[in-house]
Symmetry: D2
């Protein structure tokens, strides 16, 4: 059960409301986000909703049977729109294009990518400064100094920054320089990180876990929302299966399912989803047709020289072509009656 | 190694050629298809290709390092085109639409589906008369009589028939009534069935196994080709993974990979690929953008009353809309430079 | 619902009984096996069991909610014992040891294996004469002639034969020479093969599918049982997962689950289950402790020279040691109170 | 390449050595643990090992081709023994039994479990005070206060504590009260946590990831070792597959493979591995026979009333029986010649 509270609810009204819900046998979690105050009630007993509904200080009340509550479409039918400022959005009915290198490598590299993005009217740039690597001996990224350098150049160019946060202690130091915190596939169930990102007033993009279910992705988003942050984006990036011909198995089934279950925008990452440069464009365009609200892909001036993920990174010519094809495909999709 | 033989090679020339290849340490399989005669040499030793190339009676010779040989693009760059007669093809550069019910149920049902297909200019109809069912107590199809009935009606309407063959003994009895034999996902590695389908001069569509790899699908096609039948179509229909929110995980990554590795046409089945009616259209259109040469989906006048697979079957209104969207999406794709 | 019929039920009584069950809304399948006559009723409606129970000609009646019925422990609590003659059994409370090469290769090879088995008091020999191979160019076995040769030697030595049947047409030709028909992992859902094996009065061992569920394995056994053959053995042989360090993932969880759900004996195949010679013994002994009723493993005089599966095949010294360890481990297990 | 340094190597010698290795084209990571000082060299070029070997200050030098280096058996053949004090070890050739509840719930519960462990001569107790839960609304554990309470009681009873650490900030506060830090299956690739645990002088048990490979588990251990902590234990606890009849698929194949690849001890968790109380004992004993150095399982006075994981938790009677069976099975295994 989700109870949306009125702005002007009094403390006494709230206490009385909580007492009533507890008496029914439901456990209450209070949630205060940028957009509103909620009580989330967890329990299994049936009860007469009017018993709560008649109490004072309530804006609206919803029964949500899903395990995740606040990210469910069952109570919030209107899609969530992520406003990044300067007229840049990630939202249903729009097509966000996010491009950039796997790793931020140098000032020169950043300048070149930004120039490429501007030429192609791409407003959001991805790149890693903290890199999760399975081997401790691999390149782990330029760190916070790399982010600051990037921020100065991106700011000037009017470009928004999407980058991965790996641990709680980085949240605060990254805050001034980031537009969207990315939670990586290995951290989708790092619950402490999710809790802390709930306290921040910036957008968070959560990647599906390496072998995460659709349900678990929504539960992870629920962590951030229930922590106080509604600015959430979900990202399908391929799952681990037995198939060895591709790096991951891009699960585009997840897109219409997530869009039906949740009010949050959904992005597709074809670069990690297939892991082979030559086929990234097809998977990007498939992602558009699956109903995604955006595509995030890797590009680099000379993919062969990239510090990481070169095998799945587009060069600038491929990237320009793809950005145009994404937009044309989306324009066609908008003429269709789909979910 | 694949050696394409000249039409007029003499027996003596062939014997001499085989002796030479054997001497190198390669095992020879002779393959005679509708389109040509081949020797497939299996071995691992390096040798000077001129040693073979200078022999008489040879059209061409190719080194193919893949485990599968005859279905590889490494020797046959030109895509295979499946000609079903009456100007109906399944081929690269075209978009085949195949629709119909999961099971053939009755004359009335067949008539209604055919009328629907004709209205929408769909030339190929799917339907099961032999149904593989995990429980022995479930409906197992109308059998050969159902197929004959269907054939008469389809023939009259100029519509081609795609239907599953489950065992060797059915091949011959089905032969007069079928345009494309379908090998189902549970039979992809039924090697005896594949062997026997190699002896037939009709098209064969092989579905990827329930948890089959891309490599195994190509090897299964190799069985049919090496048995003597080049008229092959591959079909991606979703694989088994841990995800439970969809029936299968449609692996669209397989499409560009199969198209790059093989000269055979590739079809996508979004109905089994996601298993949920409301999302079949998105997956069909994603399939088009992934580079598929055709889409096969389930439709029925009243899906709720279908004998099987109703939950993933489109009604006729949805089917009409989808057929149009598939064509529009394909028209856009043709304007793109893709694989 | 399973209705066990009396031996002396009259036709009139049976017709009256079937009519009554049909009227309740249940579909009836008549099953006649080596051991008894049954009516299996499939339906979902609740009804008063006394309505059936009071009819004449009934031995017993059971409500079985599982999807599989006849192989369920819900109606037949007593474990099924497979009697192979000459005092050789596969059954609960016993430990069957089955060993032999992947492929039958030659008379000499058979003689050597048989001598090894006799030395170690192993009474059942495995070996393939029809080999399912993913590539059409690989060794496909010695065929029926190999089986006849093997039979003569095994017969003389008092050893029982377990070998794979790949297609319906082989059932009859193999019949005189085989003690246990093995259904391979690629044929677990070859329903026509299962149907036909239901008509045979010899034991059938069904291997779990490459990525088959426990439920599907039981349904496949249900096919054979409902076809008329109760002499069934289930075999866990590893499943396909994302892990690449072993050939398959041996799922020993399946053993206690199968033993709890079904009255059929369960065998473990550690050779295919891990696919690495050095670790086959550990997995065999783990299989014993998981509650298996037998172990089937691969052995060959010189594994490195085996025609197939050499990498997972024990040499005779390893095999002798393992057979002894299996028996000691089983002796200990018998002193434990387990499922 | 791993270079073990002499205790008394001078700074000048070390600098000269590093310069030499860098010149070959290898990147050096310096590692200082409780037991020794190492240089780990990462690179791919071939070189003459004598070029390094003749330098001064070197104890020994090893070429290790595995992706993981320090945890590999290729340089350290002698198994690592974890000494927890008071004569309690986790080590090859021994059988550690670790038991306890999923969650620490109350003083009374702790007292009861401890009494049960003492009766059964079990020296190590598991229990969660920080609980990773997929839903933010579920019970998240008693936290540090629960741990302190537990510590006092365990200390008195001479029982060692194994408990999960979820984030970097907890490492220090938990330090005085914990004997083995457990890294949970959702944190196996939380690289920051692994880095920090490398700085601590207490044992760390790393669970295999939800869908982690054997290779990734070893790489995660490499993080901790290369951070400075050699006191490492690996734990197989089941992986995520398509099978739905059990909670996870316990992959006992991993045990002999891990034991062959690494010098670290390996523990099996049958409770999470199958997730069904009735079958935990079989899986525990299978784990013993697979070659594990210990078993960790869940027990609670009244499993039905446990705050979490009750369905897979043994009651005390079952636990007593299992502890005895584990020891008997291990005693038998010790008489066998296995890996």
């Amino acid at each position: 059960m989700i109870i949306q509270l009125k702005q002007d609810i009094s403390d006494a009204q709230k206490d009385s409301l909580i007492a009533e819900v507890n008496q029914i046998g439901y456990k209450i979690t209070e949630v205060k986000t940028q957009l509103g105050d909620y009580l989330v009630g967890i329990g299994k007993k049936d009860f007469d909703i009017r018993r709560i509904g008649k109490k004072e200080g309530i804006e609206d009340i919803h029964i949500v049977s899903d395990e995740y509550k606040l990210v469910s479409k069952k109570w919030k039918v209107k899609p969530t729109s992520i406003d990044l400022g300067d007229g840049i959005y990630i939202k249903d009915g729009d097509m966000a294009v996010i491009a950039g290198p796997c790793s931020i490598e140098s000032e020169e590299q950043i300048r070149k990518v930004i120039a490429h993005l501007k030429e192609n009217n791409i407003k959001m740039m991805r790149g890693g400064v903290f890199k999760p690597r399975s081997s401790p001996y691999a390149f782990r990224g330029l760190g916070i100094d790399g982010l600051k350098l990037w921020y100065d150049l991106a700011q000037e160019a009017g470009i928004k920054i999407v980058t991965e946060v790996m641990q709680v202690s980085q949240i605060e130091e990254m805050y001034p320089y980031v537009d969207i915190y990315q939670v990586g596939a290995r951290n989708t169930q790092n619950f402490n990180l999710l809790d802390e990102l709930g306290k921040v007033d910036k957008a968070v993009m959560i990647k599906r876990g390496i072998s995460g279910t659709i349900e678990e992705l929504l539960q992870s988003a629920e962590y951030v929302f229930s922590g106080g942050n509604e600015k959430l984006i979900l990202c399908e990036r391929g799952i681990r299966t037995y198939e060895r011909a591709s790096r991951n198995t891009l699960d585009l089934n997840a897109v219409p399912i997530l869009k039906a279950k949740s009010h949050l925008p959904v992005i597709v990452d074809p670069s990690h989803g297939i892991g082979i440069r030559a086929y990234v464009p097809q998977m990007a365009l498939s992602g558009v047709m699956s109903g995604a609200d955006g595509i995030i892909y890797e590009t680099h001036e000379i993919p062969e020289k990239a510090y990481s993920d070169g095998q799945q990174t587009l060069d600038f010519a491929q990237s320009s072509l793809l950005a145009e094809q994404i937009r044309k495909t989306f324009a066609l999709r908008k003429t269709f009656a789909l979910l």
